[in-house]
Amino acid sequence: MLSTLHAEEVHVGGANITSTTGRRFRVDMGTGTASRGDVVRVSEAQGEASCASHPSDQPVFSMEEYLPCFDSFGFRVTQDEKILEQQYARAHPTPTATVRKWQYVLQHWNDTSMEIKKKLCRQGIPQQYRKQAWSRFLLGGSGKRSRHKGGEGGSYTDYRDAPLADRQAGDIIERDLDRTFPTHQLFETGSQGAGQRQLRNILRAYVNYNPQVGYCQGMGFLAATLLLQIENEENTFWCFCGLMEHEPYEMKHLYQTGFPGLHMHFFVFERLLQQTNKKVYQHIHDDHNINSSFYATHWFLTVFTYYLNFNLISRIWDRFLCEGWKPVYRIALALLKMDRALLLSQNTETGVLLVLKSIQENKDPSNMLKISQQVKFKTSFVNKVKRDYTASLNNEKQ
């Protein structure tokens, strides 16, 4: 069973490893064999897989079995997954030419055209340069864009240490710390580790930075994603502000009361789906009355960080931070395209919903990225749809 899975996963690209939420890990505490805090039996969604792969004739309770394994980003994985990741990395070393190109681009950031950056980002930013490249995109070329809101902002420590006007926001942040990337060693449930402390600081600081938007569930995944790449807490905070406040991301509109930006993205996404994959659109939306808010909310609110493997998330974010929302639409459309036959074969609402619910699971990352680039639509079309949406809102108001 494991060897088949193994072979398949190598074949599909090796990064099909785990998700950020740990939902593929089943921790069965109903058996009464494990007590809280102990390492409990972990089995994967499809069949048993413990952290150390052991032939069945070995003792079941070897210590080795319970040693935690982490992928290169720090997410808890099974030992098989760890081996796969290492094999994949060895088989796909970053080409020296790519490294040199990135060295050059980072030194000549403002003189490098957007077209070149786009091309390079689509190939993926080498992990060692993500920290710098992401910061450049989010903070503007000079790296200072977000530091002062309207020219008279405070310092990070001011925002971080000021008491929260909205006490409820503070409570919800606390409750979410344990539940953001819960399988990552820095954020692990019950750990109160360094990652959780930094995440708390960043999220609280943002509530003070922009009290109108405040805190909303989902933001933690964005901040944690940045924290894992940017590493430094204060820099992460300013990058997070860039993501929330500035073009082309402006994620504050997605999270504001009423979620206006989210509804706009739904509208655009549905039009694009209608245009690029009409049959699936009709099947989901017309035949079964399922609209994108049923299945795509976390795709947009967390820019795919809620489910996917962190390596894949980083690849998607390379594109998102460079180009804005277009690659996000592309990935969303690619997911539906990849499961087109399965979706169309469902003839009940529940069937369609279940396919949509798990549509981001078990996808080959390189294939997903490739297919997303094959989904063609024009920026001018997106802009037109956005204008239509704004106009329809204005009409409603009148």
Binding site: G22, R23, I172, D176, N291, T297, Q346
Partner: protein, 212 residues
């Protein structure tokens, strides 16, 4: 695709839509995951906006499919949940037995149900985390029962972790939905909720639902 591929069609006599609401972190997702997947996750990510789960069950001689809409607890997400309230046949109102504020906020949740769901919709009050309540109970069984009675609901204490009363809770809400259906048919109340976007299709109280 194993989960989705495992014949989500199947046979059933009724489809009931249930919305699960309550403060953030009280244990709504753990409750519904225990029902639908029969597992308990120690490390479960916060629900963003809404999540969907399905459970097939037998009630008397009827095959019932529950469509469970698990909502995010943060108040801001309530605007997203409107469509789900409108389409629901039953409500599971959850609070955390070890966190008194989540009990005190129940009035606000009930108010939302009144505003957004079908009038008189069957509701069940659920006290979550009964396992942790053994050492750290902040809401007594008596006061929860009193509150439920006052609001014309049943009350049940559950532990998703120890698999305590989870099936029973969903059996109870299913029973209430059947009784409600009978009442409504008896009194000949209007059934189809016009304008209930998205979820109307099979969520009809009056007619026997053929889903497959």
């Amino acid at each position: 695709m194993a989960k989705a591929g495992s014949s989500p069609g199947g046979d059933c006599d009724y489809i009931f839509k249930i919305i699960v609401i309550g403060d953030s972190g009280v244990g709504k997702s753990s409750l519904t995951v225990r029902l639908s997947e029969d597992v308990f996750y120690k490390d479960y990510a916060s629900t963003i906006a809404i999540d969907f789960r399905m459970h097939q069950m037998q009630y008397m001689d009827k095959r019932v499919r529950l469509q469970i809409w698990d909502t995010a607890g943060q108040e801001r997400f309530q605007s997203v949940a409107t469509a789900f309230y409108r389409g629901a046949n039953g409500v599971m109102l959850c609070f955390d037995l070890t966190h008194r504020p989540s009990f005190q906020h129940l009035e606000q949740w009930v108010e939302r149900v009144k505003q957004q769901a079908l009038p008189g919709i069957p509701c069940l009050l659920i006290g979550c985390k009964s396992d942790e309540a053994r050492d750290n109970r902040q809401v007594t069984n008596d006061e929860a029962i009193a509150w439920a009675k006052q609001h014309n609901m049943f009350f049940i204490e559950t532990s998703a972790k120890e698999k305590e009363n989870v099936q029973q809770a969903f059996q109870q809400i299913t029973k209430s939905i059947f009784e409600d259906m009978k009442d409504r048919n008896g009194k000949n109340l209007p059934t189809a909720r016009e304008g209930s976007v998205n979820l109307e299709g099979q969520a009809n109280h009056k007619e026997k639902k053929s889903c497959c």
